[in-house]
């Protein structure tokens, strides 16, 4: 079995991260596998983890009520699934399920939050990395909102 810290180190999200931080983060990590169509988390559930996707594709959906299930985004290898673990009240905004077999590293939110509280420098580093992801997600949501291919 591959060393967890090695896998973490090679994931784009952890690029150039301090070795010491990496060790601490590894303490909160576990290997997870989801089968095709398996639910990873549900809208409204407590956001206890986030995921570094290694292989496979995850769909994020929102329950559109009378509009059906709306797929907002798909997340694939090298990307991060979930940021609600870092923002109170730690609830998922979407449902996530595997579109194909998904292998990922799950990081325990509470474990990581505690370590960040203890080491604010590491906490800030994590926050910066998540801010980058949030910015990307916000930008692409804006672009989706523009509905650029809409016929007139």
């Amino acid at each position: 079995m591959e060393d967890l810290s090695e896998i973490l180190k090679n994931h784009p999200f952890m690029k150039d991260l301090d070795e010491n931080y990496l060790m601490q983060i590894t303490g909160c990590a576990s290997n997870v596998v989801y089968k095709e169509d398996e639910i990873i988390f549900r809208e409204g559930d407590k956001a206890e983890k986030f995921y570094l996707i290694r292989t496979g594709k995850v769909a994020l959906e929102i329950n559109g009520r009378d509009k059906g299930n709306l797929r907002i985004l798909t997340i694939g290898p090298g990307q991060i699934l979930g940021w609600s673990w870092i923002v109170s009240p730690f609830k998922w905004h979407f449902e996530a399920h595997a579109l194909e077999e998904v292998r990922a590293i799950a990081l325990d939110g509470e474990c990581l939050r505690n370590k960040c509280e203890d080491d604010p420098k590491m906490g800030y580093e994590m926050l910066k990395r998540f801010a980058h992801i949030l910015e990307q997600r916000l930008q692409s949501t804006r672009m989706q909102l523009l509905d650029v291919y809409k016929r007139v």
């Binding site: 769909a59 797929r71 650029v148 291919y149």
Partner: protein
């Protein structure tokens, strides 16, 4: 339009030539393709470069500037993939096999394919923007060994709006090419990517020194694509965009297509991004 030995056009470039509709078929709900051949002499050839456009004339109705979407090495007919959005394209959409329309062209600049031999190619298309890029894709795949890594990233509104799905599958199977397709919105039945086209850049590895990008789609989508390409380290000089402006004459006389100092009809539609970078963010230019 043919050129004589001294390089002058023999036919007045303002006068359309009659061409025959060989075939018309729907690609999606509102996008159709016209296959055109010379009216009386199907052996006569169409000479054009990938990225160029023609002015298509519907009798008595008017003209529309439409990019060419066929394989430029197959010269006996022309393909134009057209979004039914305006008056003229609406009339063109009702044509039948055997009908005659007018054609002027080809006009404008081409994708820089010869200049970038030996380079990696990243093609980013949005919506109908895949149509003007298809001739470039044909050329690259036909001369596959002249290029390094080839990546095609394609974004559309919904799974129903994907152009050329059969061909995309064929290219993926037959050639050494990475193809990723994403949609802006979908229901649960779609198994592919969801998210804007730039998210696809997360799934491919580009060598910024070796890669040349060719981008076509709505201008706002091209802005996002260029921003993301630049973040991966690509130089603006190696990013090419195809712009759309109002075109009436296609010769640089009518003025409508002016974009800063350029006439999109004759200096474009394909520009190196470095040539438009100073004006690309100016509102209402």
């Amino acid at each position: 339009m043919t050129e004589n030995k001294s390089g002058f056009q023999q036919v007045d470039p303002m006068t359309p030539e009659a061409v025959k509709v060989k075939k018309i078929f729907w690609e999606t709900e509102d996008v159709f393709t016209l296959e055109l051949a010379h009216e009386n002499d199907e052996k006569r050839e169409f000479n054009y470069k990938p990225g160029q456009f023609n002015m298509l004339y519907a009798f008595g109705v008017g003209e529309a500037a439409i990019s060419i979407s066929s394989d430029s090495s197959k010269k006996s007919s022309l393909l134009h993939t057209i979004h039914k959005v305006g008056y003229v394209t609406n009339v063109l959409s009702k044509l039948k096999k055997g009908d005659i329309i007018g054609l002027r062209g080809p006009f404008g600049s081409a994708w820089p394919l010869e200049q970038n031999k030996g380079k990696d190619i990243c093609i980013i298309a949005g919506g109908i923007g895949l149509a003007p890029l298809r001739p470039a894709i044909y050329h690259i795949l036909k001369h596959r060994k002249h290029y390094g890594k080839v990546v095609i990233l394609y974004g559309v509104r919904t799974p129903r709006d994907i152009l050329y799905p059969v061909e995309l599958e064929l290219w993926r199977k037959k050639y050494d090419v990475e193809i990723e397709v994403t949609v802006d919105r979908s229901d649960s039945t779609w198994r592919g990517h969801v998210g804007v086209v730039t998210t696809l850049l997360n799934y491919v590895e580009l060598n910024p020194e070796k890669t040349r990008a060719m981008v076509c789609g709505p201008e706002i989508m091209m802005k996002f694509a260029v921003d993301e390409l630049k973040k991966t380290g690509l130089d603006e000089k190696g990013i090419y965009v195809s712009l759309e402006r109002n075109m009436k004459c296609a010769l640089g006389f009518c003025g409508h297509c002016q974009y800063g100092p350029s006439f999109v009809c004759k200096d474009g539609p394909v520009f190196s991004f470095s040539n438009v970078t100073d004006i690309f963010e100016i509102k209402e230019l």
